[in-house]
Symmetry: C2
Subunit: 183 residues, 2 copies
């Protein structure tokens, strides 16, 4: 398991052979534990998510929901950046909805914060919290694609994801309201 995280962390294309070698076991032994590369990639992602949860657990999310959202997105981004290579392997190996399913715990954290912001009237309540949380998930993981594609610098990324998260969640201003069609 540790070998999988190490190898996939070095290269998203690491093969079962590479991982068996790193772990010092034979391919047959490795396949005995994980029936396919997909299963192993999923297990590696689950491990990283559990470690990430230990970090996110310590983030103080009390106080102004806007500040808390900024902090949560920046902390979450650091974890995504560290896990970039494993995440890339997962995006290639797992079905589209699966990665999001595995994020239930961090999603719940974001969801609860959005709900609180909605109750306090700071975040928009015209869409359900789980839909806004999902939009933040897509922005986060989209930003990881943008970094990999060179559109977004790694140092600009935390500010970008925090700003986009706020933009998505804040109550829209008059400028965003649909104007009546001209007569």
């Amino acid at each position: 398991m540790r070998a999988a995280v190490t190898c996939l962390g070095r290269s998203a294309e690491a093969s079962m052979n590479d991982i068996a070698q790193e772990a010092g076991v034979g391919r047959v032994t490795l396949y005995g534990h994980f029936p396919s590369r997909e299963a192993l990639v999923e297990a590696a992602l689950i491990r990283l998510l559990a470690q990430g949860d230990e970090v996110l657990k310590t983030v103080d999310l009390t106080g102004d929901p806007r500040d808390a959202l900024r902090t949560l997105m920046e902390s979450g981004w650091l974890l995504i950046a560290q896990a970039a290579s494993v995440l890339q392997a997962a995006q290639a190996a797992l079905p589209p909805g699966r990665i999001q399913e595995l994020h239930a715990k961090p999603e719940q954290r974001v969801h609860d914060l959005i709900r609180r912001g909605q109750t306090e009237g700071v975040f928009r309540a015209d869409f359900p919290a789980d839909l806004l949380a999902s939009a933040l998930h897509h922005i986060m993981h989209g930003a990881a694609v943008d970094v990999a594609a060179g559109r977004l610098g790694p140092t600009d990324a935390p500010r970008f994801v925090a700003e986009m998260a706020l933009a998505v969640c804040l109550v829209p201003t008059a400028a965003a309201r649909p104007r009546p069609a001209p007569e």
Copy 2:
């Protein structure tokens, strides 16, 4: 090609066999044209994107950039909704960045509109237009995942993507500015 769009439109899991049968040709003939299922899925997506471009070409993007963005996102969403099943096949079969690469033409349209909005001072200019356009891409395709997962109703989806696009692009208000940490 038409058989591929038909079959993948019915089911994202359509196999090479299904498609050969629909086209009334043998598997060998089909493999003669497309060396792999991945190549065929990519070709089907390219075909749908070209058809979509014919539609988007007719959308009037002059006038207030906010109205134009709303219109463009809603039109784009209709195309994505129609192509949902092929897109799902593509998300499973193609590498993560590839789908976005194939969207160069619609992305360019969004990009140009964002640039105009930035020049007119309506859209935020603290991030480059291509990064904002990419965020809209991720929101759009994320919304397609949300619809497939039942988190977003198909009739609410056009309004949701348009609202999210505006939220991302508009100049942020004072409420979104980071506040100084309490002393």
